[in-house]
Symmetry: C2
Subunit: 314 residues, 2 copies
């Protein structure tokens, strides 16, 4: 009940085309099984069930794959199976995410479908917000309901319709209907950063604060998106770039410092400056002050020059 309410709230589902084709990432766990059943009961017609066998849990992984294959068969949906195992190098979490993206890109091409539905929910979102905050990402950032991604030359849209639902609601929804799902016991092992945030940090924060910390952090992700959109609009309206694509010094100086900084950041990012960080932006901002150097070197051999009250990037 509650889940249906959340899923029917404004957002992606309100405007979704139920006749269109979609890939659905299904691990077999509660999150993605709830997503799949919900899409079915909401009347989506052309779903392709995609499962990447991570091979990380031996026979258990194979049984997950068999289960999802069975579910797809039972629902009369096409099933795509990929196999992947971690070859080392980057962390398991990062490597697995990249492998899933490559797998989705293959399925997308095979089926002529570009939209990929994923079962990420509010608790995943809260973990992402907290993790990004600790990592020092700018502002407040979480996952977005819709994310464009190009992998192996395939442009896809990743869609997360369940970001507003709690994990406990998804499980309760499945259990109330007697719908089976697989338990990934590694989710209960406090080994990866995500698992430890979920299993150790959030329970402690809940207890200290006497409130639902994950709910607050998941909501904070919306604030973060909202502020990001306001910033984008502000940069556009600051109109600090002249028709020749140069930064207009006088115009920049009329802006409050944070808006000015955002304009310079945006200008450098659009020019494809690599390794763009606060220090690089600071060096360009310093060029606006009286008596400042009229030339600054940036990463990648790029140069910013001040001439005729404009900053030009060469």
């Amino acid at each position: 009940m509650k889940m249906a309410r959340m899923l029917e709230e404004p957002g992606w589902l309100r405007h979704a085309d139920k006749e269109a084709g979609y890939l659905v990432g299904v691990s077999g766990g509660a999150d993605s099984m709830a997503l799949l059943h919900f899409l079915m009961s909401a009347g989506f017609k052309r779903l392709v069930v995609c499962h990447l066998n991570h091979k990380s849990r031996g026979e258990e992984s194979d049984r997950d794959a068999d289960f999802v294959r069975g579910v797809a068969a039972g629902m009369g949906m096409p099933f795509e199976l990929g196999n992947w195992s971690h070859a080392g190098g980057s962390s398991f979490e990062n490597a697995a995410r990249e492998a899933r993206h490559r797998f989705f890109a293959e399925c997308a091409q095979g089926h002529g479908v570009r939209k990929v539905l994923l079962g990420h929910h509010a608790d995943d979102q809260a973990e992402t917000v907290l993790w990004n905050l600790i990592r020092g990402s700018y502002g407040l950032s979480g996952m977005t309901e819709s994310q464009r991604l190009t992998v192996s030359g395939v442009e896809m849209e990743l869609i997360r319709p369940l970001l507003g639902a709690r994990k406990s609601e998804l499980r309760a929804w499945l259990e109330a209907r007697g719908l089976p799902f697989r338990e990934d016991r590694t989710n209960l092992e406090p080994v990866t950063v995500r698992n430890r945030l979920r299993l150790e940090a959030f329970p402690l924060l809940d207890e200290i604060a006497g409130r639902d910390a994950a709910a607050a952090m998941a909501r904070a992700a919306s604030d973060g998106r909202e502020l990001q959109e306001i910033k984008t609009w502000a940069v556009e309206h600051a109109a600090a770039v002249d028709p020749q694509g140069r930064l207009h010094v006088r115009r920049l100086m009329e802006l409050p410092e944070p808006v000015r900084r955002a304009c310079v950041f945006d200008f450098l990012r659009n020019a494809g400056i690599p390794d763009l960080d606060r220090a690089a932006v600071d060096r360009v901002l310093a060029m606006l002050e009286p008596g400042a150097p009229s030339k600054v070197m940036l990463a990648g051999g790029r140069v910013v020059r001040r001439k005729e009250a404009r900053l030009r990037l060469d």
Copy 2:
């Protein structure tokens, strides 16, 4: 060394008038003692040492007061002592903060001084950011370096020059100079929310993430302030209020949703609508849609009316 570097970085100190009078809140702990010594050595001339005895730790509290009185005498500075004990009601932390503010207001009037310097540092800031996030404050919010506050009719500016410095740096700075300070052992008791965040949550987050979570959260407060200033600028430039002080419906509809929301929020807040929350803003935003009601009641008996493509507040 390191602390001096941080304190001399751009910010309040760069522009501070060292001849002006300031109150300094001094508990006797490392934070405020570092602040006091730093101000002395930076050449501030007219400091008033203000100590509020919280009476919460019996004889220990009285000894703190004696210590700070002695320090002030040794430095040849005026000393103001206030006494306060918690009478119940709101939480100790909130009641103590209010009592300090009232005490500062009295001292401010007595000395004809309006600026109050406080020893809050980066670790305090990190706790504030995390706590506000869990409490569900909008966006990312921490303490500001400068905060205007009116208490008992006295307008004051609270200034926190140490927000960029870590607690460990302040202690190390004092210890390297053999400068004494008082230990408040209740800071080591995991009882209040703040103490538990400091003593339990941050160490766990550091360990999980393998990084300095407090440093990242303290920096995030700057992002939050920056985004807030950009938002303020955006609302101003959206120019959604007409010369008669009404919201301009067509102008609002041209704005992206988050900017529109920020304009409506700002409009209602400036009109002094009590208990302004997201739901109230949503109800006013809904008036912009075709076929919506032309009248919405808000808290405090205030009414928003749509007429001639304007929203007016009565």
